[in-house]
């Protein structure tokens, strides 16, 4: 089936000690490895309690913003298939070998039209979820902080969302679940698109803005109560909340946006309806965009489009 999910988000942090405090103590991720990159930067690898692969978040010290995303495919042969499609699309693809990313197998790497680095791989060292697979309990008893189960999705900015949409459709086999466009006309300008490969409401969203930038990456939560509790913990830990708890009109997800200690926006995200390839795409137009983004306040703040890392 090709791409199954965003396997990892690799981001930069300005101060590793503060970042670890945030991702381990407040968010409750499990550290699976810490090392020094070939460039001499300190790195820490994390997974959520309900993830089985070695890591889903990589922090690298030095600077801010996103280094790259990893996309896990179902079959080894999907890598070749995506490589061919990426070349057909006009992208420059390079091979990456097992171990270039610790605990990640062979794959390919390319830079998207949005100037983000994507890696595609099939094999990752299996660690197992924190509840196991044999008569598993509902959750681990001793979760730390928010205790996020898993990485969910990301929103990036790019100069040409329509081009990113067509790349994601043609190279990854993604489809759009929701869009923001200037009007309902056929020749309307695409402002943003929410894309997925399966029933998850979105794995990657692309919003018009500067190239190569990160808007946020999000962790999954179960429901409204967990989103509210996450916000309480952010207050206790003095994490700056950007917006929320509220709901997105787009995706119907329940959310808190907040900033990690390097100023990268994170999100906790619950809900979102089931996506299907044959479900008609929801379309939002600018006069209701405030409601689309923040369903209750119905107002877009400056920060939503200007604060990027």
């Amino acid at each position: 089936m090709g791409v199954m999910r965003m396997g990892y988000a690799h981001v930069r942090v300005t101060d590793m000690a503060e970042a670890k405090d945030h991702y381990a103590t407040t968010m409750g991720l499990y550290e699976t490895r810490s090392d020094v990159s070939a460039d001499g930067n300190q790195r820490v690898f994390y997974k959520g309690w309900d993830e089985w692969d070695h890591h889903s978040v990589v922090l690298e010290e030095g600077g801010v913003g996103v280094v790259k995303y990893g996309w896990k495919v179902e079959y080894e042969s999907d890598i070749d298939d995506i490589e061919r499609k990426a070349r057909d699309f006009g992208l420059t693809v390079e091979r990456m070998s097992a171990g270039e990313n610790p605990e990640i197998g062979d794959g390919i790497r390319f830079t998207t039209p949005s100037e983000h680095v994507f890696e595609v791989y099939h094999q990752a060292t299996a660690i197992g979820t924190e509840v196991g697979t044999h008569n598993p309990d509902a959750f681990p008893r001793h979760l730390v902080g928010v205790g996020v189960p898993a990485l969910d999705h990301s929103l990036i900015t790019c100069e040409d969302p329509a081009l990113m949409q067509s790349m994601l459709e043609r190279v990854f086999g993604f489809y759009a679940t929701e869009r923001v466009q200037t009007s309902l006309d056929d020749d309307a300008h695409l402002i943003a698109t929410w894309m997925t490969s399966n029933n998850q409401i979105h794995q990657l969203a692309c919003l018009e803005g500067p190239q190569a930038k990160l808007h946020h990456f999000a962790f999954r939560l179960g429901d409204w109560n967990e989103v509210g509790r996450a916000a309480d913990l952010m207050a206790m830990d003095d994490v700056p909340i950007d917006v929320g708890p509220t709901r997105h009109g787009i995706t119907r997800g329940q959310t808190v946006y907040f900033f990690d200690p390097s100023g990268s926006r994170n999100e906790v995200f619950a809900g979102g309806y089931l996506a299907y390839r044959d479900r008609p795409v929801s379309v939002w137009t600018p006069e209701q965009l405030g409601k689309g983004i923040f369903y209750h306040a119905r107002e877009l703040n400056d920060r939503f489009t200007t604060v990027l890392t």
């Binding site: 300005t14 801010v64 400056d302 200007t306």
Partner: protein
């Protein structure tokens, strides 16, 4: 506050409005302005990552106690007096330029209780 120096309370004067806020020792500029009841428009991540909170330092010096990425605040900007207010800690009294429309005027209502340490231009 074992060192005498650390207990110095720096003031932030806002030009052209003339309002003054008194910060706590070690407090970043933006957090101090908020605590004193001023609402500043240029607020982003509050964690040194987005660069939205940059303002012009007209007078005085600031220090950065936490790492700031060179892509967020370049050395040229530092040298020419641009201040990343969410991370900058005044090294003494400073003066910032904030356009009138980008900062609230005198704190009113409950906010005036936050601002007991601040003085308005008419109280100088």
């Amino acid at each position: 506050m074992s060192r005498g120096e650390a207990s110095v309370v720096p003031t932030v004067r806002i030009e052209p409005s003339g309002f003054v806020a008194r910060l706590q020792p070690g407090e970043p500029v933006l957090a101090g302005l908020h605590r004193c009841g001023f609402t500043v428009r240029q607020v982003g991540c509050r964690r040194g990552g987005c660069g939205i909170c940059k303002l012009e330092l007209v007078q005085g010096e600031v220090t950065y106690e936490k790492a700031v990425a060179g892509t967020v605040l370049t050395s040229d900007e530092r040298a020419s007096g641009t201040c990343l207010t969410c991370r900058a800690v005044p090294a003494g009294d400073i003066t910032l330029h904030i356009d009138i429309e980008d900062v609230s005027a005198a704190p009113t209502g409950l906010l005036k209780y936050l601002n007991i340490a601040a003085t308005g231009p008419d109280k100088e």
